[in-house]
């Protein structure tokens, strides 16, 4: 029986065997890692051809993760989006609270197949770290998570979750002390400990085969959502919308719709305080092609190839790179990428919470803000599918400070409420 949930790209057109999506991708890694990265590629190809691998992953997806995830229509939220219908793909309902578990379980099985006993991973918001720590607990693997020091502060709940699950969490103090630097440190660990260690990379970036492999583990998002929305509405959506940091939830949603030329694929990048301020992480909107973390893609950098420090209120999107397949989709015109500010995302976060009783992650709120704008552009006949990639529990401290929700902030809260009136406007 074919697998229901592990659905690698059947088209096999991109990437090439060298890992190239058009001009993007490749394998820019130190010689010391070549053998290990090749081993991952070989083992993944073997796993794809092995029905036992798909069967085990399917079983985990159903009985551990809780797939398929729901598709929820949000009419009260959609009233603020020009009357378009909006459906949310509920990856926030997966075990551990985000889409990240899809990829993590696949790579954890691969780790076991390769006979490795230790896993390392980077994390920004902590969602990938929590998912990785979870899988390591489940499979009895040693686990070390690298996290930028700034992110350990703004996502303290997830740090506690990882430690509860038995993982070692290392706060990275170099560079911008965010996701980029956590990846640098994870690579340094991998070079030194590659014999027994798998680097369980958390997004569709990095050297080949990670962009294609991580995408394949997340393809289930779009495959399920496509079927669900057609069953519910009798047609394909006008647009599939997702937030993009490294781009894993977005590629997971988009990929099944790539052959559907009439479905717009809209990625929402973090504009932070606004692209014009320079304080943002909108890589596709404001970056240039370059090499970061093992592949060629758009990168936020200066004229001499130094990577510039990104900024976003969302730790999970605060990254100066992007998966190479997104760069490819942008350049061939199949993907559209727009930038959403911190403020627009936070307004959308509160709007969804108050109209639908669903608190999204700040990352996913960028996609919601994008959908509000897109709905107004499409008008009342519009049909929009949004990937709700994660839940917002981890962000309550950031949100409480932003909106002044703590009792000690009571006076501030009055003022903030007046300023932060729900407008539903993603500008």
């Amino acid at each position: 029986m074919p697998s229901e949930f592990f659905i690698p790209d059947p088209q096999g057109q991109v990437p090439t065997s060298d890992g190239y999506f058009g001009d993007f991708g490749g394998k820019f890694i130190p010689e010391a890692l070549v053998a290990a990265v090749d081993e991952v590629a070989v083992e993944y190809e073997k796993a794809k051809a092995d029905p036992a691998f798909a069967a085990e992953l399917d079983d985990l997806m159903v009985h551990y993760t809780g797939r398929p995830s729901s598709l929820t229509e949000v009419p009260r939220f959609a009233e603020h989006a020009g009357g378009a219908r909006i459906f949310l793909k509920r990856e926030d309902l997966n075990h551990t609270g985000s889409h990240k578990i899809n990829n993590v379980l696949g790579q954890a099985l691969l780790t076991r197949r390769m006979g490795k006993t230790r896993v390392i991973a980077e994390t920004g918001a902590g969602q990938h770290g929590v998912a990785t720590a979870t899988a390591c607990a489940l499979f009895g693997l040693d686990c070390t998570i690298y996290m930028g020091e700034i992110d350990t502060e703004r996502q303290a709940l997830n740090v506690a979750r990882m430690r509860m699950l038995g993982a070692e969490v290392v706060a990275v103090k170099s560079g911008s002390r965010t996701l980029k630097d956590a990846i640098n440190e994870a690579f340094r660990d991998w070079v030194a400990n590659v014999d027994r260690t798998h680097y369980l990379f958390g997004t569709v970036a990095g050297p080949h085969p990670f962009p294609a492999m991580v995408r394949d583990f997340h393809r289930v998002i779009g495959v399920e959502a496509r079927k669900q929305i057609v069953e519910r509405t009798g047609r394909l959506p006008d647009a599939a919308v997702a937030c993009v940091g490294g781009g894993s939830n977005a590629i997971g949603l988009f990929h099944a719709f790539i052959p559907d030329a009439d479905v717009r694929l809209v990625g929402c990048e973090p504009a932070g305080h606004g692209i014009e301020t320079g304080e943002h992480a909108a890589t596709l909107s404001a970056g240039e092609p370059g090499i970061l973390h093992g592949s060629r893609s758009y990168v936020l950098q200066d004229e001499e190839g130094q990577i510039t420090e990104p900024y976003s209120i969302s730790a999970g999107l605060d990254y100066p790179g992007i998966g190479p397949e997104h760069s490819y989709l942008k350049d061939i015109g199949r993907g559209e990428y727009r930038a959403v500010t911190d403020d627009a995302a936070m307004q959308a976060l509160r709007l969804l919470s108050r109209t639908e009783g669903i608190i999204p992650a700040i990352e996913s709120a960028h996609a919601l803000a994008g959908a509000l704008d897109l709905g107004k552009e499409l008008g009342a006949d519009g049909l929009i599918l949004v990937n709700l990639s994660g839940r917002g529990d981890k962000d309550m401290d950031t949100a409480a400070r932003y909106f002044g929700l703590y009792d000690t902030d009571a006076v501030v809260a009055e003022d903030e409420a007046a300023v932060a009136e729900i407008t539903g406007d993603a500008k």
Partner: protein, 271 residues
């Protein structure tokens, strides 16, 4: 104007002719300042270094340990630019006559433009480049321009490199082969990895005839002597940088790196 790949080969051959290993010193450009970095290069050559690698600092030095990360950070905060790296190469080579290589990550060169970078480096008197995150499979464009401008392409090999890869890498490389003594990032170590001698042997067995120089973790004369027993060159980086970081002032730092170079130079003379 052609780069100094031949000078590099001649220098390594001369050391071999003297029955010793060459001493190759690494220092980042712009550290502690651009002028201070140039003085440091002159000091290590005065102490006995045969070849110099000038680091082009990068914001994301994924293969470097804390010592070189700190130096890169100081250099970048000081505003070091590629033009400053070229000036460092030019002045260091002009003052000392030794071959000067640049070591950096691929993105700065990719962004600057491969043709522009190789032309300027050759014009400055550079001998070539070491690009540890540019694997041989992705290196065709670089090699085309490096060859055109008379610059060496020094590839890194690691204990994990299989024999067939060593053959591919030595066939594509020039100048010498950089053998990483251990699996890890730059930094001083208590002892040099056991795997280094085996890697040098396997690299030589490809029959390319390229000299094989060993780096990563070497920090003192005892280790230098140990490595010199089986390698054509001994590469030292973090130990020099650490001496400069630990020195109370720039002048003391120059004295310290000159002394270390002299100790290491004695170490690479095997007897």
């Amino acid at each position: 104007m052609s780069g100094n790949v031949q000078l590099l080969s001649d220098t390594l051959a001369a050391a071999q002719g003297e029955g010793r290993a060459a001493l190759i010193a690494y220092l980042p450009a712009g550290f502690p300042t651009v002028d201070g970095g140039i003085e440091a290069v002159k000091a290590v050559v005065a102490g006995g270094a045969d070849v110099v690698e000038v680091g082009l600092p990068h914001s994301d030095p994924v293969l470097d340990g804390p010592v070189i990360q700190t130096a890169d950070d100081i250099a970048l905060r000081g505003g070091v630019k590629i033009a400053d790296v070229m000036r460092t190469v030019r002045e260091a080579h002009a003052a000392t006559g030794v071959p000067v290589l640049v070591m950096t990550y691929w993105n700065p060169i990719d962004r600057y433009g491969v043709e522009r970078f190789t032309a300027e480096l050759a014009e400055a008197g550079g001998a070539g480049c070491i690009l540890p995150d540019l694997p041989v499979q992705e290196s065709a464009l670089w090699r085309e321009h490096a060859d055109k401008h008379g610059l060496a392409t020094v590839f890194v090999v690691a204990p994990s490199s299989r024999d067939e890869r060593l053959a591919t890498i030595t066939a594509a490389g020039s100048g010498f082969v950089y053998a990483a003594s251990l699996m890890g990032v730059t930094g001083t170590r208590e002892s040099v990895g056991q795997e280094a001698a085996a890697l040098v042997r396997r690299t030589r067995a490809t029959g390319s005839g390229l000299p094989v120089c060993v780096g990563l973790g070497v920090s003192n004369a005892v280790q230098a002597k140990e490595v010199a027993a089986f390698a054509d060159g001994v590469i030292v980086g973090s130990a020099f940088v650490k001496r400069m970081l630990d020195a109370p002032d720039e002048e003391a730092g120059l004295v310290a790196v000159r002394e270390l170079a002299a100790e290491l130079a004695a170490g690479v003379r095997r007897n």
